[in-house]
Symmetry: none
Subunit: 144 residues, 2 copies
DNA sequence: GCGCAAAGTGGGTAAATGTGGGGAATTATC
DNA sequence: GATAATTCCCCACATTTACCCACTTTGCGC
């Protein structure tokens, strides 16, 4: 389980440290170090352990018809920019320029745990997003 | 597996470097260097390792009747402009003028990984396309 | 507080990757 | 057949990445 929010700083080379607790989860629960990072359509990046990537992303998209509009968009937007990141000796990953630009990451980035994945945010973006979420939540869930 | 998005620049002669990770995939997974490049009907180019070209393009089209309208269009549009590209010593391929013009490639081009092929895009075209994809994705998947 | 270990940050250097261009060989054009 | 254009095959250089080491900061024990 990836949980909690952690701020780490990205250096000039585009390297960021994965929070130790997330690395711990990767080791113990997935017997793996690497993660698959891609963009999320809320403006952040998402990282999955390879098993989860296969289980919750690839396999679900494959159930759709190959010419399905949603599937094609999803593949272009989510699948194709995905890259496998292997942490270096210090536990850092190098985020490729294209993903960094998309998520507007600069110095301080925020790692946010999800159940079986985690997100990587630019702080400012996350803040505005959280505010939006708050108003959505206060309205309450849709009736049905 | 071809994965990730990579920006490379095409020089005045029409040469572009294939991203190193794609070349790596070609070597290790296909024991080959060359790729077959053709047009895709989303406005970009598509490159296949020869084996995949045979497996996922040629063989599937051959299953259609030779007088089938779709097959005839497909052959004219996709099969016939295809050319085999062999990387030079630096790992670059020379894209023929006709394909370059079709995809409106000029300076900076984007290589986007697919499962068993990759695409070559003009950045601006890809961006507008991605924006469309984003609105499709935010609407959520169709009810199945 | 003090000390230790773990976590996080920064930078140097060699290798790998990407870019540009010259000139010979080949092909096209008239 | 001569000339122009294109392609191929080198070499040289710039940029980026991988790998290593060292330092600072944080958390936690006594």
């Amino acid at each position: 389980m990836f949980q909690g929010e952690h701020k780490n700083t990205m250096d000039g080379k585009g390297r960021v440290n994965i929070p130790a607790s997330f690395r711990e989860t990767l080791r113990t629960r997935y017997a793996d170090e690497q993660v698959i990072v891609t963009r999320d359509y809320d403006g952040c990046l998402r990282a999955y352990p390879p098993k989860e990537w296969e289980r919750s992303v690839l396999s679900s998209v494959r159930q759709r018809d190959i010419n399905d509009e949603f599937r094609r968009s999803y593949e272009r937007f989510v699948i194709s920019p995905a890259i496998t990141c292997v942490p270096d000796k210090q536990g850092r990953i190098l985020l490729p320029a294209t993903l960094r630009e998309y998520a507007e990451l600069d110095k301080t980035v925020l790692f946010a745990g999800g159940a079986s994945h985690f997100e990587i945010w630019d702080i400012a973006r996350r803040d505005t997003r959280i505010k939006e979420d708050l108003t959505i939540l206060k309205k309450g869930p849709p009736s049905p």
